[in-house]
């Protein structure tokens, strides 16, 4: 933005805030330096662009249509422009300081620091000492990473209540499919971001892991056209239980002196013969168990149940190939 333009826009904001009565475009043209020299058409185009730019940075411009006037009038209502009076207690300022530093990536980090700057400009005492003292004897830092490239576009889609389209690879799938989704929200769970929403193709609510979205997220409808169902529980939608209910027991032979971690997590460990101990492990998914057991190589042997033993043998043969 050129210096001249910044000057013109700042004068326009002051002019529209100062006026009691809505001003017509012509009156604005006379009042704000920078418009006067141009022809009618050039002025109209410039004024339209300026209004859009002000709205983009969040300045509310009222358009007043008086039935007695041909031309609409413009003004900025002070009450909807100004940051309301706000004061923070020291403990409130401290937690706000921690909150403002949570986001690690540009889009939200800039939004958070922009908010803090406005609060400070409004005379609010903020505390940016990185959580010093907040945790009660010991500093605290809280961070959230939004590393997935799809995050900014989905944040905007959720904000603007706008349907989106993207290519998605299901877990372990060889193929990518295009999904059209009405976004209800984004949720971070155990360090991973999920989109929860209504999958139009499947005609049902679905959750999508952001890291499995490939390529761009495109708009697939008008802003404001997504209706988030009342009382929808986003967290429940992305809550994939780690362990299904049925728990089973595996009998595992463990080389003596090896597999410390396994021994810690085992239900029982009893000494066996020939330098091997016997441990009982609780599991539910034989494939998950097999992954863990295979990773321990020749330090363990799964004695049973047979499906778990077979799963380990399959993994090891796979690693051999």
């Amino acid at each position: 933005m050129s210096r001249r333009k910044t000057e013109r826009l700042l004068n326009l904001v002051i002019c529209l805030l100062a006026t009691r009565r809505p001003l017509s475009a012509e009156q604005i043209r006379q009042a704000v330096p920078g418009y006067d020299r141009d022809g009618d058409e050039a002025f109209q185009r410039m004024f339209e662009r300026d209004k859009n730019e002000l709205r983009e940075i969040g300045i509310p411009i009222d358009v007043v249509r008086d039935p007695w006037e041909d031309e609409p009038g413009y003004r900025i209502e002070r009450q909807s422009y100004e940051l309301p009076e706000i004061t923070l207690e020291p403990d409130e300022a401290a937690v706000l300081g921690v909150a403002a530093q949570v986001w690690q990536r540009a889009s939200l980090a800039e939004a958070a620091s922009g908010a803090l700057l406005k609060l400070r400009a409004g005379g609010v005492a903020t505390d940016e000492t990185a959580g010093g003292g907040v945790a009660g004897g010991g500093a605290l830092e809280v961070r959230v990473d939004t590393r997935d490239p799809a995050f900014p576009a989905l944040w905007e889609a959720v904000r603007d209540r706008r349907p989106v389209r993207f290519d998605y690879r299901g877990a372990g799938s060889e193929n990518v499919h295009t999904r059209t989704v009405e976004p209800w929200g984004v949720v971070s769970r155990r360090g991973r971001w999920y989109l929860a929403g209504f999958d139009r193709g499947r005609g049902a609510p679905r959750a999508f892991r952001l890291s499995r979205i490939t390529g761009q997220v495109a708009a697939a409808g008008r802003p404001g056209s997504v209706e988030v169902p009342k009382g929808v529980d986003l967290r429940a939608m992305v809550d994939f239980p780690d362990e299904p209910a049925r728990e089973r027991t595996a009998l595992v032979r463990v080389r003596q002196g090896a597999c410390e971690g396994l021994r810690q997590l085992a239900r029982t460990v009893r000494p066996g013969a020939d330098g091997w101990d016997e441990a009982e492990l609780t599991f539910s998914d034989p494939e998950r168990l097999a992954g863990w057991m295979a990773s321990l190589g020749s330090d363990v042997e799964v004695a049973g149940p047979p499906d778990a033993r077979e799963a380990v043998i399959r993994r090891l043969k796979g690693a051999l190939a």
């Binding site: 002051i14 940051l83 403990d91 400009a121 961070r143 959720v158 209800w184």
Partner: protein, 321 residues
């Protein structure tokens, strides 16, 4: 906020800041706004050219910075900052809601959080409140180790840990001097000086199998500097060996789970990933766990080790269980 496109929002915060901080120093204000002193003075010169319609000297904003002390007058129209935008307020509100669910913070700072949330929601308007209920960061339940870790932080005492490392299936005893708690993506870590590693370390609280507060004052050495977690919690050392793996669609989790130097799509969901490995045993375990969903491409000696170990482990299964 130093780009020229951000200049108008900055000026609309700068003027109120100067109004609410009369006599502020050029250096101090430049730092708050992330500008050089020269850039700030350029901003002040621009502001000085603006004002109410008419633009007689009495209409213009009056600003001076004699002797480095900034005095502003005649800027009542824009004396208050612009209200918080939806992104700005949402970024803070989502972070605050997450903090309210963070056990490390909620217990000590519990009632300040809802107060700040209420004040911000009032200052922001409806849109932001809606967005911030659609974006959520799930936080792990309070780990068992938390009370004792916090006790050690508060009393500045050394801790004795038994720490589980799943990648190596090891439990190692460690003595550490706690420095602070870091919560990243909803998971808690203790940042501390580790006497076993003789370096700063982050330990996950939920992987501490035993925690004992020792009767020894914490006394971290002078070189104990906080870890920059903004760069990620898992940071392989650049001197670690580069390992190249090829994984099938079912093994893609590797690229999501570990920080990779390079990821190349090979078609049909297959990937080639290059990552840095702390040690060979870790790679061996990973390759065995992957079974036929991944294989080590380089270094070739590593691929050989995986085959040998898989063969040795399969030898255990040659007999009937």
């Amino acid at each position: 906020m130093s780009g020229s496109a951000d200049r108008l929002p900055r000026l609309l915060a700068l003027v109120p800041y100067l109004m609410s901080h009369p006599g502020a120093q050029v250096g101090e204000v430049a730092e708050v706004f992330g500008l050089s002193e020269k850039q700030l003075i350029d901003d002040l010169q621009l502001v000085w050219m603006c004002g109410l319609p008419g633009h007689t000297p009495g209409d213009l904003i009056d600003v001076s910075w004699d002797g480095g002390e900034i005095v502003i007058d005649n800027a009542d129209t824009i004396a208050r900052p612009l209200r918080l935008g939806i992104d700005e307020a949402s970024a803070l509100l989502v972070a605050l809601r997450m903090l309210a669910a963070t056990p490390e913070l909620a217990e000590v700072q519990g009632d300040a959080l809802p107060r700040v949330v209420a004040k911000l929601e009032r200052a922001a308007g409806e849109g932001a409140a809606a967005v911030s209920s659609q974006v959520a960061v799930d936080v792990d339940a309070a780990p068992d180790a938390l009370p004792r870790v916090r006790q050690a932080l508060t009393a500045r005492r050394r801790l004795s840990l038994r720490y589980y490392v799943p990648g190596r299936d090891e439990v190692t005893p460690r003595e550490v001097d706690p420095m602070r708690i870091v919560v990243v993506d909803g998971r808690s870590y203790l940042e501390c000086w580790c006497y076993r590693a003789e370096a700063m370390r982050l330990f996950r609280l939920d992987r501490m199998l035993g925690v004992e507060v020792l009767d020894v004052p914490a006394d971290p050495p002078a070189e104990a500097e906080p870890i920059d977690v903004a760069q990620g919690v898992f940071r392989p050392s650049p001197t670690d060996e580069l390992v190249e793996l090829e994984v099938t669609a079912a093994g893609r989790w590797v690229a999501e789970y570990y920080p990779c130097e390079q990821v190349t799509e090979l078609g049909e969901g297959r990937l080639r990933v290059t990552l840095r490995a702390r040690d060979e045993d870790w790679v061996l375990r990973l390759a065995l766990r992957l079974g036929d969903t991944g294989r080590v491409v380089a270094p070739p000696a590593m691929a050989g080790r995986v085959r040998e170990e898989a063969e040795r482990a399969l030898g255990l299964y040659a007999h009937q269980a």
